[in-house]
Amino acid sequence: MAKLTIEDLKKLRDSAKKSTALREGETSVKVTVHMGTCGIAAGAREVMDALLQEVTEAKRSDIRVITSGCMGMCSSEPNVTVEISGNEPVIYQHMDRNRMRQVFKRHVLLGEVQTDFALARVK
């Protein structure tokens, strides 16, 4: 396979532009990976990695992935917050790759809150 160059990105321009348009409109799900020092040390980057793989496979452009800092609950890190529009955000604790996959497949895609991993519901 030929080596990728930055110019190859042009091929992705159209789909990326569509995604910008969508982002400026409605996003139906927001997933936040908390990446403070505590989160990173506990494995937040691996959680992010698994999440990105899932988002890619799901082919849904209305899901936004963002990072944020520490919430002050360092002992429960890695934390992930899932916010489906119209619902209260749910914070998950002690996440790892597998838990992230389960939360994505069940909660993000199907709307079933995974209470076993949940830390809190934000009211």
Binding site: K17, C38, G69
Partner: protein
């Protein structure tokens, strides 16, 4: 932290939280001089003079959610542990640069680790911030500049899964290339 790449991710997040919109990350591996240099520079709001010493104190933090701030302290300890050097330069209103030098073959030096994973996390989580990643391995270089990426995308979303997939492959191929280039010699 198990990897230097995680320290870099953490320090870079500091810069973003300080309002930076451009972050430059430099990794320089020199086998000749037996050194590993890392620099993370941001154009955020900077640290006031009287606070520079304080930020290295693990029990100092500006945040209100908890009472300890470990990021920079951990990085400094990591450098100290392997006969390294840690420097923090900051100018209020201009930005901050963290420079760390390690002895490359020191037994206590953590592996550099998954730099691609760290950069992808940064790019994905902060689409409004630009990143320059420069990696020099005895003169062989790899560079990723998200400003160029955004130019190619012409307004397209850098966090689009296909774009992120592309960047991941682009970076891991690029880093693998400068790695093998050394072995062949």
């Amino acid at each position: 932290m198990r990897e230097l790449a995680l320290h870099i991710l953490d320090i870079a997040e500091n810069g973003i939280n300080a309002g930076a919109d451009l972050l430059e990350i430099l990794v320089e591996e020199s086998f000749r001089d037996n050194l590993l240099r890392i620099s993370v520079r941001d154009n955020g709001r900077g640290i006031p003079k009287e606070m520079i010493q304080k930020v290295l104190d693990p029990f100092y933090t500006t945040r209100t959610t908890r009472r300890v701030g470990l990021g920079l302290s951990l990085m400094k300890e990591a450098a100290k542990r392997c006969d390294g050097d840690f420097q923090l330069e900051s100018k209020e209103g201009c930005g901050t640069e963290v420079k760390i030098i390690f002895r490359r073959d020191h037994i206590d030096l953590a592996p550099l680790g998954d730099m691609t994973g760290s950069m992808i996390s940064l790019i994905m989580g902060n689409p409004g911030v630009d990143f320059i990643y420069d990696h020099d391995r005895d003169g062989k270089r790899f560079r990723l500049d998200t400003r160029e990426v955004k130019k190619q995308l012409d307004g397209g979303d850098i966090t689009h899964p296909e774009v992120i997939g592309f960047l991941r492959q682009f970076m891991s191929e690029g880093l693998a290339e400068i790695k093998t280039a050394i072995k062949e010699e």
